[in-house]
């Protein structure tokens, strides 16, 4: 009989696994107070920032790496990592024409053309290569609207007052182990500022690329939306294939004032390691947004498909009355990938509302956990939360877990939680096949049906891409 067994399919190779040969300015491996000072001086930073780093570093030394997540990996040797690597070119160029063509080529290959002629028409892009931002498109056009979109390094130079005001105001430098590490050694990232009453005229996007094999990536993103402002922001990430693991520990902070909104979408496709679990990115990320103003809104949408390890809980602190937090997530793990991801919705203000929709797909021998906290504080009178956590298993060797935590100190708050687990069965696949639909298309139809609620939240340009990415990732999954 020639029917395809799900086990027979061979994995699709990772398309973004190439390395760019480029001269790099790297510092020596290892982490110490001197290294923190060196990074700060390389970036010619103001004193407040150096102090921020040093405080974080000293605190980090007192912390132990967290072990509560459902993740298993060999201990990370923090002295065996390079904390700063930058492509050798002089300070950021005024014009893209001066950027090393090799770098432009790299982003071209990744499908992120930066040059004037080819750039995406309605998306402004900040391209981050290893530790530094190499180019930001449409900056001038955005500036006409008063929107600031630039690399973190530039923001420190051009808008130090904003950085000083907001940096660490949502994720404190002592928030957790990885946030403290990031606060000590972060090298670059993106900064977005949308002034009062401005609706950002285009999608903003940052594309992160890890290139070096022994370098950690520690970027920092800060987005501030003033009263009545709104913005939609998307980040994407890829990395070359190495048989060693690289550490990625980012921090993202969002601040939203009265009536403002931020929609933050992520398509994460870091290298996941090979089918035996060798190599891949360790992704330990702290993302949090604060709805400070009344009627403000933060919406996180994430499509997590890459990384060997994902540890990530994009959260909302709903302070302002009537503020809204949303979390839409698709996390797909295959082969030996492990993901422990979810969200925290901290209801502080009255009548705050939150929605959590999480879709976990586990294939191969992978493990996929949803971990989420819904907390109703004493002031959250009339607050509401709705959570839905669905897991889909492909094959019989993958694991799915759901860890919902609920804390309420407010009797007049409503919390609803629904969870389900399903498995793609041989009979469902055969049914679709017996109607002429190929095996892989059948799997991807079922998976994208499962994820539809989340994909509908992605900006249009990226929804189709996310669908394709998932199909690609599942090619060769066990059934």
């Amino acid at each position: 009989m020639t029917s395809t067994s799900t086990r027979d399919l061979v994995s699709q190779p990772y398309k973004y696994g190439f390395v760019t040969e480029i001269e790099t300015d790297k510092i020596d491996k290892g982490l110490s107070e001197e290294v923190v000072r060196l990074i700060s001086s390389k970036k010619d930073e103001p004193e407040f920032l150096l102090n921020f780093r040093l405080k974080a570093f000293r605190h980090w030394l007192t912390l132990d790496e967290p072990d509560w997540a459902a993740l298993g990996y060999e201990a990370i040797d923090y002295q065996d990592i390079i904390y700063y690597a930058a492509p050798k070119q002089q300070a950021k160029k005024a014009s893209l024409d001066e950027v090393d063509p090799k770098l432009l080529e790299t982003f071209d290959k990744l499908g992120i053309p930066l040059s004037e002629q080819k750039r995406l028409s309605n998306v402004a892009v900040d391209a981050v290569f290893d530790s530094v931002s190499i180019a930001t498109t449409y900056k001038e056009k955005l500036a006409e609207h008063g929107v600031v979109f630039c690399s973190f390094t530039e923001a420190v130079k051009d808008h130090p007052e904003l950085i000083e005001k907001y940096l660490g105001s949502v994720v404190a430098s002592n928030d957790n182990y990885f946030a403290a590490l990031n606060s000590a050694v972060f090298s670059d990232g993106s900064f977005v500022f949308i002034p009062k009453g401005v609706e950002c005229p285009m999608e903003l996007s940052t594309y992160f690329r890890i290139n070096s094999g022994d370098t950690g990536q520690f970027e920092r993103t800060l987005i501030v939306a003033e009263e009545g402002a709104s913005v939609s922001y998307l980040e994407g990430c890829t990395a070359p294939m190495f048989d060693t693991n690289q550490l990625h520990a980012a921090v993202v902070e969002l601040v939203v004032l009265d009536d403002a909104s931020i929609k933050y979408s992520t398509v994460q496709n870091w290298y996941a390691g090979d089918e035996n679990g060798v190599g891949g990115i360790y992704n330990f990320v702290t993302k949090r947004g604060q709805c400070r103003g009344a009627r403000s809104r933060i919406s996180w949408t994430q499509v997590e498909t890459g990384s060997a390890i994902t540890w990530k809980y994009p959260s909302c602190v709903l302070q302002g009355a009537d503020s809204v937090g949303e979390f839409y997530s698709v996390a797909l793990t295959n082969n030996c990938q492990q993901a422990d991801t979810g969200t925290k919705m901290i209801h502080v203000g009255p009548r705050t509302r939150s929605t959590i929709v999480s879709k976990g797909i586990s294939a191969g021998r992978s493990s996929n956990s949803y971990r989420g906290l819904v907390q109703m504080g004493p002031g959250a009178k009339g607050a509401r939360n709705y959570s839905q956590c669905d897991s889909m298993l492909i094959g019989d060797q993958a694991a799915a877990n759901t860890y919902p935590y609920i804390r309420s100190q407010q009797p007049q708050a409503a919390i609803e939680h629904e969870a389900s687990t399903c498995r793609i069965s041989e009979d469902q696949l055969f049914y679709l096949q017996s109607r002429g639909i190929g095996f892989e298309e059948a799997v991807s139809m079922m998976v994208s049906g499962f994820c539809r609620d989340v994909f509908n939240q992605l900006p249009m340009e990226f929804a189709a891409e996310a669908d394709k990415l998932l199909a690609l990732k599942l090619e060769g999954s066990v059934g």
Partner: protein, 262 residues
């Protein structure tokens, strides 16, 4: 309609097949020509449903020996989806539910996969809507079912109508209907049988797998086969079905014993 010169669509020779190493089919021989309607009857466990699954290419069924030629081609060299595209259709006894996949989208993808093989143009979303609405009439189905997930929350009768709708869209050359009558009340049975009759023509063939005569009151078979112990024990015309209705299957055991099979 029997025409000896009609194209031989399905040629099953000494077919043996197992499930989990348990032999179920033990030498099936059957020839189906275009224009013919065959009924395969028999008790539970006689191998009727296994035969349908083997023909459609279900991965859990293993062919151990014998051949099946479909329009001259070795059927077992084709993947399940390829068989479907070439015109082999299985109407399921228990159509599965596929949550999250829109019925309309599913029908469109399936129809286009078949049309591509027939060298017909693929239908875009708009053309397909017109096409499917016209076909809905065959089974008097409410268009609301197109908007739902595939078979999800459908009643037994609605699932069977959805099967015949798929048959109407895919225009199969050989349609194998596995207990399409099971679980249907008489009105639903008439609608489903009416659909099958409308779709049968001189260029295709239908294989009805059923326990009961009542489906054959609605669809007149050219041949009736009685399966027992993984083989076709007896073949006759429609009168054989009527006879079975009278005398039941007790004679089967005797005949098998006489052949030394039971």
């Amino acid at each position: 309609m029997i025409r000896p010169d009609a194209e031989l669509l399905l040629d099953i020779t000494d077919l043996h097949a197992s499930v989990e190493d348990q032999p179920i089919l033990k030498g099936v021989n059957l020839q189906v020509r275009s224009g013919e309607i065959h009924a395969v009857m028999g008790r539970n466990g006689s191998g009727k449903s296994t035969l349908s699954k083997v023909l459609a290419g279900h991965p859990a069924y293993r062919v151990t020996s014998g051949t099946v030629r479909y329009r001259g081609e070795n059927l077992f060299e084709l993947e399940a989806e390829e068989r479907a595209r070439l015109g082999v259709f299985l109407g399921f006894q228990y159509p599965v539910e596929i949550p999250g996949v829109s019925n309309l989208e599913f029908l469109r993808v399936a129809t286009n996969a078949r049309r591509l093989k027939q060298n017909l143009e693929e239908l875009d979303t708009f053309d397909f809507e017109d096409h499917v609405h016209e076909r809905l009439k065959v089974v008097q189905m409410d268009p609301a079912f197109l908007e739902r997930s595939v078979n999800e929350g459908f009643s037994g009768g609605e699932k069977k109508r959805n099967e015949i709708l798929q048959m109407a869209l895919l225009e199969p050359v050989v349609a194998i209907l596995d207990e399409t009558d099971s679980g249907l009340d008489i009105d639903a049975l008439r609608i489903v049988a009416g659909g099958v009759n409308q779709l049968a023509n001189a260029n295709n063939a239908t294989l009805l797998i059923t326990h009961y005569q009542r489906l054959l009151d609605e669809i007149t078979p050219d041949y009736v086969h009685v399966m027992a112990s993984g083989r076709i024990l007896r073949t006759g015309g429609r009168e054989l079905a009527l006879e079975l209705e009278q005398i039941g299957y007790d004679w089967v055991d005797k005949e098998l014993a006489a052949q030394g099979v039971a």
